[in-house]
């Protein structure tokens, strides 16, 4: 019962954070703001996958978590390379 209340509150907090990141993703004036919001959404999805893996006690999407970490880092580094020397 305590675990159910805890997981529900975790999901609510993550959904509020995802809504705020989506607002910044839509309303961000520059490309860098949108990259920041996209990175935050990626982190929210990562924590959501981990919470779901804990709740259902199923380990089939834990490699997805590691791969998403690496792909997020490589994507941010690529966008930083793309952004350099370009007018915002």
């Amino acid at each position: 019962m305590i675990g159910s209340a805890l997981s529900t509150s975790i999901v609510v907090v993550l959904l509020i954070a995802a809504a705020l990141f989506v607002i910044r993703l839509i309303a961000g004036p520059t490309l860098a703001d949108r990259v920041v919001a996209m990175n935050g959404l990626l982190l929210v999805g990562l924590v959501f996958l981990a919470v779901q893996a804990v709740n259902t006690d199923r380990n089939s999407n834990l490699p997805v978590l590691v791969v998403v970490s690496v792909v997020g880092f490589v994507g941010t580094a690529m966008i930083a390379r793309f952004l350099r020397g370009r007018k915002l």
């Binding site: 860098a32 920041v36 981990a50 919470v51 380990n59 834990l62």
Partner: protein, 150 residues
């Protein structure tokens, strides 16, 4: 008796792990509020990189504490370590690219960049000093000519 004690330990460990995940989620929420409310792209990156790195690392470590099998624990701990090491590097790359975004390609040398960064830091220090002097002058403007200028 021993089985009951082990079950109690497992429930306690799962609850502690979920609590740590909740703390990490609250840190991510705090970084989202910072991303919404800060006025500039660089300050938004500041909010996201610090609070959210700690939040994701805590959340994945708490999930690793709540899982039972060893391969799940190692996978989650590896993801947490990966986030904790790569997220500041990515934030630094993006911040540098944003800071030097508007300069033309001909002036891209390392020493010019360092010079410009030093000039910016010095200029903000002068702005704070001038702001301080202005508030002083505005404060005791009741008797002009008495305040030492500079």
């Amino acid at each position: 008796m021993i089985g009951s004690s082990a079950a109690l330990l497992a429930i306690t460990r799962a609850t502690a792990g979920e609590m740590i995940v909740l703390i990490g989620s609250v840190l991510i929420l705090i970084s989202a509020i910072g991303v919404i409310r800060f006025p500039d792209a660089l300050t938004r990156m500041h909010a996201l990189s610090k609070a959210s790195t700690l939040g994701v690392s805590l959340a994945l470590a708490g999930a690793a504490l709540a899982m039972t099998r060893l391969d799940d624990v190692m996978s989650l701990a590896f993801a947490a370590a990966l986030q904790a090491f790569t997220n500041p590097v990515a934030a630094t790359l993006l911040t540098r690219a944003t800071y030097y975004a508007n300069e033309p390609a001909a002036t891209r040398s390392k020493w010019l960049r360092r010079l410009r960064l030093a000039e910016d830091v010095e200029q903000t220090g002068d702005d704070e000093q001038q702001h301080h002097n202005g508030s002083d002058v505005r404060h005791d403007s009741g008797d002009p000519g008495d305040a030492p200028n500079g």
